[in-house]
Symmetry: C2
Subunit: 126 residues, 2 copies
């Protein structure tokens, strides 16, 4: 395994995702940063974390990637088979505590899953 270093910016990303109520886009993470960080840096930090399984992401219906910390989700499963919900109005993506029972596929070697439900959230419905 490649050597890694601890940096302040990586810590900030973890802090921000830890305190996040929803999954976050790179754009949102950048805005939440207490110091100025380049977007490429954030992309690469998240890429590294995703490889290590610290973070997972879903691609929203809008084509953007939304990131969240991995809590117990993949410790047990190696995969993130829980559902995400994206609100069409506010675009927020939320991790939901529902696991999907995934079928065995014959012609495909499955590495990840992304289950997304799309609609309107409570906050936006009123």
């Amino acid at each position: 395994m490649k050597k890694t270093r601890n940096t302040q910016k990586q810590d900030y990303v973890i802090d921000i995702l830890t305190n996040a109520k929803h999954t976050m886009s790179v754009e949102a993470i950048l805005k939440a940063m207490p110091i100025k960080v380049n977007k490429t840096t954030v992309y690469r930090i998240l890429e590294r974390f995703a490889e290590k399984g610290k973070v997972h992401f879903v691609t929203g219906e809008d084509g953007k990637a939304y990131y969240a910390l991995c809590n117990d989700c993949n410790v047990k499963h190696e995969m993130h088979n829980h559902i995400h919900f994206q609100c069409k109005s506010c675009k927020k993506v939320t991790c939901l505590p529902y696991e999907i029972e995934v079928p065995e596929l014959k012609d495909f070697e499955v590495q990840e899953t992304q289950f997304l439900m799309i609609g309107i959230c409570d906050m936006c419905i009123s």
Copy 2:
């Protein structure tokens, strides 16, 4: 309901999707067109078809939209709860004949679903 017109270009899109083995990106549809068509046109044709329920799309892990004809998938269900598979190597997205049992969500009004499994397909594994 708004009036619609039948045009050659719309027919071509339907033809192409009918003969497609996989879901198709707008780029792929454009390439498959027997005549020159503007990309904006294809986007708008697909948008109209999606509204009418003739077509559905999944957002791939790559953030691109992949379109497929709706066969019996939404006639019965109003939603497209089948699984899609995207190959990380060739990027192809395939509709799979597996329905997902979706949970009732309390805080969200669900309008659509996108279930994506990601990995390597048989063709690319060798």
